[in-house]
Symmetry: C2
Subunit: 235 residues, 2 copies
């Protein structure tokens, strides 16, 4: 069943892009059934009512799907390429994530951030990935340029920072996840977190974790970390 | 230390692209040290000898790095977009994989395959990802258009196919991995494997596995499956 996204509560029509997709690609017509989610847990079973270019629908049944028992937030330094940030958002959404925080760090170039983090586009990509993977919750996407405040205000029960200090053996993120709690994992930029940032995080209760034996690009680390936490909750 | 790739045993110079990167981007010169791998386990510590455009090097020390105790092969139906196939190869290489088999299935469009699977380019991407992640083995990349033969000839100890049949509860891939053995995981196309393909695989000793509770795109499934197997071996 085709799943569409309409976050507005009192709007019973698809936006332009989805409208075109419905009529031109899927070739659906009035009377056909579709599913519509608001990205906040509601799944509406609807029947199409197409008038010209306007693709409206009538809601036959509404189901509320509860959130899962745990939450995952990935705070990641933006990479320098917009498309890599977009891949990251798409893949984490498919796999399962409640919140993606783009976090500006000391080794992140602030000038490039606006160019490579387009939240409108990223939210659209997250909505697409949500529909593609048949989920009913769209992840929240935030941009944070005050590292210290972000660290101090983090309220998750399990706070992790991906960092492998020199010689010390560090546990894998998989082993640090507490079932049915909220986990926040920080992923640093290409140049890594600064000493000061690590110290501050540890003072604020963050534990250092490893993401595996190989060196991963930032966007790969975010997806791998997100996946590892999902696995730890599921298994 | 910068890692470069030179698969030819008796060639002691970098190819054009790496040569340019060395002089123009990294601004290294004669006398500077670099590391060179052949992608088959050898790590050579070298000193640069630059003459004009030719970036040659003298090998000071050669180290052989043994392969890891287990092997991972991911056989995946090519997606319809070249860039998604490229992303898949890059990410699996970063995370750790010995072999990537592009597998043409009944629901794969054979006409698009040549267009979206460019092995020269994919091998270059794998080599880049290998260097980026400081590894010394380049994954093998194959293209297979005879599904039946591929299935029948599979010699790995653990043979898995990502497929969740209807109502049956299926184990997660993570639980099916045997330590220090070779694992082969099959990932189907967007339209899934056909009934016939699944039956044949099961007859040939493949076990069906799940990759998690959400529906993943083909390229995401390949990376998630590869990551899950790596985790199962490491933890």
């Amino acid at each position: 069943m085709h799943l569409f996204y309409q976050p507005e509560e009192n709007l019973f029509e698809l936006d332009e892009e989805e409208a075109k997709h419905t009529t031109k690609v899927l070739r659906l017509g009035s009377g056909d059934m579709i599913h519509v989610t608001d990205g906040k847990g509601f799944l509406k079973k609807c029947v199409l009512n197409i008038q010209g270019r306007k693709v409206g629908y009538e809601v036959l049944e509404t189901i509320f799907v509860a959130r899962r028992d745990f939450e995952i937030a990935i705070a990641v330094a933006p990479t320098r390429k917009a498309e890599r940030n977009e891949w990251m958002v798409e893949k984490m959404t498919e796999i399962g994530v409640e919140r993606i925080d783009f976090l500006i760090t000391e080794h992140t170039n602030p000038e490039t951030v606006n160019r490579v983090v387009n939240t409108t586009r990223l939210n659209r990509i997250a909505a697409s990935a949500m529909k593609q993977s048949q989920q009913y919750y769209k992840p929240e996407i935030t941009v944070n340029n005050k590292f210290d405040s972000f660290i101090r205000n983090a309220s998750e029960e399990t706070k992790l920072i991906a960092y492998v200090p020199g010689q010390n053996k560090v546990e894998h993120v998989f082993s640090k996840v507490k079932k049915n709690k909220r986990t926040l994992l920080l992923i640093g930029p290409e140049g890594d977190f600064s000493e000061r940032e690590i110290m501050l995080a540890m003072e604020q209760g963050f534990s250092t974790v490893s993401l595996g034996p190989t060196r991963l690009r930032t966007e790969t680390a975010a997806v791998a970390g997100c996946h590892a936490i999902n696995l730890a909750q599921a298994l």
